[in-house]
């Protein structure tokens, strides 16, 4: 039996746009498990990002509760959420969002120093992670504007993982990348997952989705269905077929 990492009950999120209330998430009950590579799929505008940001404490739900392990996070205020995020969550964004004015290393350290007070340990970890994502030492000193999108996203992953997050959230991490670099990023994610990193990834692309062991399908504000693929095996036709069948059942 896997440990529950995140648990939502009756999670709802509405936005009022132009005076009208738009219910994006409707009473979602969901459990996410430690060690899983969970993928949230759905059409564009289905509310995938909204769900991801609610789960990760970037945003507060309109109704319902979210618990991280034993801690209810849906009642925390903005600053408490910030402190929660720095200790427990890592983020990888589609737009990468590195800070322009800092070198890659400082981008990573600015997140790391929030949690890890021992500079030596922190630097060791940063270097190891950079090496793990295959970024050379001279790249660390560069600024985001001086590197390619793929390199930037890998630096983004280093930043996301620097504080040993219990859970890594990724919102379409390959969305802005070309095929080859996107593949590198997916491989890195899979690799970290194999070493025990829990990951929740939003995507609307099958190639990415295949990496997950648990696929959730979001539609009209509810989890329409889910599919378990088991441990990722590259070029596994059975896995591909299962996923395709699931998706077409969901109306993909």
């Amino acid at each position: 039996m896997k440990n529950i990492l995140l648990k939502t009950s009756q999670l709802s999120k509405s936005f009022s746009s132009g005076g009208r209330l738009q219910h994006v998430l409707k009473n979602i009950d969901l459990e996410l498990y430690e060690g899983d590579f969970t993928v949230i799929m759905g059409a564009s505008g289905a509310g995938k990002s909204t769900l991801l940001y609610a789960l990760s404490g970037m945003d507060t739900p309109s109704l319902g509760t979210i618990a991280f392990k034993d801690q209810i996070i849906s009642t925390l205020n903005q600053d408490q959420l910030a402190i929660f995020r720095r200790h427990h969550c890592g983020f990888v964004f589609q737009q990468i969002y590195l800070i322009d004015g800092m070198s890659l290393m400082d981008n990573v350290l600015s997140a790391g120093l929030l949690v890890i007070k021992d500079k030596k340990i922190l630097l060791d970890r940063a270097r190891n992670l950079f090496t793990a994502v295959d970024l050379s030492e001279e790249t660390w000193k560069k600024f985001p504007a001086q590197i390619s999108g793929g390199e930037a996203q890998r630096a983004g992953m280093v930043r996301a993982l620097i504080n040993h997050p219990e859970i890594l959230f990724a919102d379409e991490p390959t969305g802005a990348l070309n095929f080859k670099t996107g593949l590198d990023v997916l491989n890195t994610l899979t690799d970290f997952n194999e070493h025990g990193q829990s990951i929740v990834m939003v995507t609307h692309d099958m190639r990415s989705a295949r990496r997950g062991n648990r696929i959730l399908y979001l539609k009209d504000g509810i989890i329409l269905g889910e599919c378990n693929l088991g441990k990722y095996i590259p070029q596994d036709p059975a896995r591909h077929n299962t996923l395709s069948a699931f998706l077409s059942e969901m109306g993909w």
Binding site: M58, F91, Q95
Partner: protein
């Protein structure tokens, strides 16, 4: 043009906050500028207008004889002199006198005129401003109207050592003799009172001559020559006099102080406003590189885009200037009332086209120039490059404060990164804080030396101060001194007597004679060299020495009573009293020119002594030998209170203004920073930074520039404030200023300045709490 207009309108709509802040700064600058121009043109010219209106004299001379022999001599002499165009002679009486005013006392040479005689003068007319049907009493210069000195009330006037009570019948204005600042002051008596005074013999009968000249610039030398001619004709007469040059300056000291300060403020605020405009435009270009590129791509020319900016800022500047100018008209009445209490010349506020249009021209001209200069780079924006790269202006050359190596705490380190990469912001902060620290130091200096304890100020402006001044006939001098030395209330007594002498080759100087200059209270009067010690030494006014190229050690010849003697210059003096035309002699030194028939002694009395009672006792004891007694302490209070309240108003105004300026500048800077860094803040929040951390980071990023410029500014200003003040006061005879610079106040004020800057930034950065990591999604 229409396109530019539309662009300007949309720019304005997008930046309401900035527009408002720039508007306020421009408004302040324009109102100061207009006020300054009004003060230094029309307000100052009001003196000449009044002078013309009252057909006033350029030289006033009162001689204490009015027999026909003297009058014929005067007429002959005046008619002979080429400069004379017109003159009038009037019977009068003159005597040193005093009366109560504003909780103090006014003491000056009083010239008593019979009301009808005064009103019928052809030169030096008197204008009755307030009259009543009281038939018997006194008319005072309008300057001395107050709650206590009002029509129908009685006023006690000291004439020499006698006191007389009069009913106040009204107030008048006399341009050359309507204030103690003129060094002589007319008062009118109704006929019965005039005869009474004549019969009492308290004041000698005199002749008042008012002379108009061809060239008013010659007034001072004319005055000297005339006095010399009179005293060589009759060495025993006492003359008092003034000139156009002296009066036009000394009646406008408060105008000079005000316009000096206002001009400095106008300059600084305009400077800050322009810096803000420039950095605003540079930021606008940086932020809108993509938009500008798009606009260019769809066919806008660089000039059109610049025109839009020009329109936008010229619009703000014009609107702000117009409003600022109306505000300056709103403030003028207050200033006018303040200054009238020193000038004593009524001024009617009216619309002044020249300052008005000049202010508009200057504020919009410099705005246009700054906009043009800072927006020129729009022309260089290439649409393709701008579209593709967006923000290209970041300079990524250096990774300031590398987190890898620095030992600085995280928040501070991130703040410093911002500091180093925001040089434009630093420059704006620095200039603003430098200006503000100058203001703080100035207000500290004025608070310390004028408002809290005005001794330094009065030492500078008045020269010597003591508690009492007693003028006594020299035949009884010995007995007087003996009595004084045995009186326990007298702490110090010394001769401090002024007479007028003439510098051969030069003009008339007021010589102050002292038996021992080591005894005088204000040892700062001589600020270079030393007081005269021996009978062949003299100290002269630094301003006069400079103008006549006289150095310490030089020999000058002084004449008085028809005798001449040479003296060595031992030092330079400065006081504003004679506008830089004075000198110091020892008694022995003066003896080489003549003897004193009466002598003024200055006394320091013990604290508990009632000076007026003390004077009464002396008069009773020495009777007729006492010519005058002056309560110097209360006179100082009286004439000083005007300056104290003026300074207080100025200090409060500049402090309030600086708070407003600092608030607006910081608001603009913080706003710009929040805009530029909105995404960074969102990312940092997503990574787990709290709002508090980010606000602190923002505030810290400003602090290096704030602290550095405040410290440097206060230190430098503390060093230059005295020379700077001396420079402003140069025209009234001040060459060197030695005000105490209140270090404690300045340090405290600097700390307050830094703290309030910090708090204001935190307040303005409070908006950061509205930035949520969710806003990162907006880009999707």
């Amino acid at each position: 043009m229409r396109k530019s207009f539309l662009l300007a309108r949309s720019n304005l709509r997008k930046s309401k906050g900035q527009t408002a802040a720039i508007f306020v700064l421009m408004l302040l600058a324009a109102s100061m500028l207009n006020l300054w121009l009004m003060l230094s043109t029309d307000y100052k010219q009001n003196f000449d207008r009044y002078h013309d209106k009252l057909h006033a004299e350029h030289v006033t001379l009162s001689v204490d004889r009015h027999d026909t022999e003297m009058q014929n001599f005067l007429i002959r002499t005046l008619e002979k002199k080429k400069q004379t165009t017109e003159f009038s002679l009037t019977d009068s009486m003159h005597m040193v006198g005093s009366f109560a005013f504003h909780g103090g006392e006014i003491s000056t040479e009083l010239i008593f005129l019979e009301k009808q005689a005064a009103l019928s003068r052809s030169v030096g007319k008197i204008e009755l401003i307030k009259d009543s049907n009281i038939q018997s009493g006194i008319y005072l210069p309008i300057l001395y109207q107050s709650e206590k000195n009002a029509i129908g009330k009685t006023i006690q006037v000291s004439v020499g050592s006698h006191k007389i009570e009069y009913t106040i019948c009204g107030f008048f204005n006399s341009i050359m003799a309507g204030s103690h600042n003129c060094s002589l002051c007319e008062v009118l008596l109704t006929e019965d009172k005039y005869r009474e005074l004549e019969q009492s013999g308290y004041a000698p009968a005199s002749t008042l001559c008012s002379i108009r000249l061809k060239e008013k610039s010659k007034s001072q030398s004319y005055e000297t020559q005339l006095k010399n001619m009179v005293s060589s004709y009759d060495p025993s007469v006492r003359t008092i006099s003034n000139s156009y040059t002296l009066v036009s300056q000394s009646r406008y000291i408060s105008q000079m102080i005000c316009s000096g300060i206002i001009s400095a403020m106008a300059f600084f605020i305009l400077l800050i406003a322009l810096i803000v405009v420039a950095s605003n435009i540079l930021n606008y270009i940086q932020e809108n590189m993509k938009n500008l590129g798009t606009l260019k791509a769809v066919g806008y020319t660089g000039s059109q885009l610049i025109h839009a900016l020009l329109l936008q800022f010229l619009g703000i500047s014009l609107a702000a200037s117009l409003l600022g100018e109306s505000i300056s008209y709103g403030m003028f009445p207050f200033l006018n009332t303040m200054m009238i209490s020193q000038t004593g010349i009524p001024y009617r506020i009216h619309f002044l086209p020249f300052p008005f249009f000049f202010t508009l021209l200057v504020s919009s001209g410099v705005t246009a120039l700054v906009v043009w200069l800072s927006s020129r780079r729009i022309k260089k924006v290439e649409p393709i490059v701008a579209l593709r790269q967006g923000l290209l202006t970041h300079n990524f050359k250096k990774n300031w404060i590398s987190l890898e190596t620095t030992g600085i705490p995280l928040d501070l380190a991130l703040a410093l990164k911002t500091t180093f990469s925001a040089m434009k912001q630093n420059i704006t902060v620095c200039i603003t804080m430098l200006v503000l620290s100058l203001i703080v130091v100035f207000s500290g200096l004025m608070t310390e030396n004028v408002i809290v304890d005005m001794t330094p100020f009065s030492n500078l402006i008045v020269g010597e101060t003591a508690d009492s001044c007693i003028n006594i006939q020299t035949d009884l001098e010995k007995a007087f001194l003996q009595k004084m030395q045995s009186d326990p209330r007298v702490e110090k007594i010394y001769l401090y007597h002024s007479v007028s002498v003439r510098h051969v080759n030069g003009v008339e100087l007021v010589a102050t004679i002292c038996d021992d200059f080591a005894k005088v209270n204000n040892q700062d009067v001589v600020f270079e060299g030393r007081f005269p010690k021996f009978d062949n030494e003299i100290a002269i006014a630094a301003k006069y020495a400079k103008e006549h190229d006289l150095n310490i050690g030089d020999e000058i010849t002084i004449a008085a009573n028809g005798m001449e003697a040479a003296y060595l210059i031992s030092g330079y003096t400065q006081t504003s009293n004679q506008l830089g035309k004075d000198c110091l002699l020892t008694r022995a030194g003066y003896m080489r020119l003549g003897k004193l028939s009466n002598a003024s002694y200055y006394l320091n009395l013990s604290d508990q002594t009632d000076i007026d009672i003390f004077h009464e006792e002396i008069k009773e004891h020495f009777q007729k030998a006492v010519n005058t007694t002056i309560n110097v302490a209360s006179i100082l209070e009286g004439s000083a209170s005007v300056y104290v309240s003026l300074m207080m108003m100025i200090v409060i105004t500049v402090l309030v203004l600086s708070v407003i300026i600092i608030a607006f500048v910081l608001y603009l800077l913080v706003r710009t920073m929040l805009r530029n860094k909105k995404q960074d803040y969102g990312i940092l929040k997503a990574l787990g930074f709290t709002t508090k951390q980010l606000i602190l980071q923002t505030a810290f990023s400003f602090l290096p520039a704030v602290i550095l410029s405040t410290i440097v500014g206060s230190a430098v200003c503390s060093l230059i404030i005295n020379p700077l003040t001396a420079f402003f006061l140069n025209s009234i005879g001040i060459v060197k200023c030695t005000f105490r610079v209140p270090a404690d106040y300045i340090i405290l004020a600097s700390i307050i300045l830094i703290l309030s800057a910090f708090l204001l930034i935190c307040l303005f950065a409070w908006k950061i709490r509205k930035i949520t990591p969710r806003s990162l999604l907006a880009g999707e």
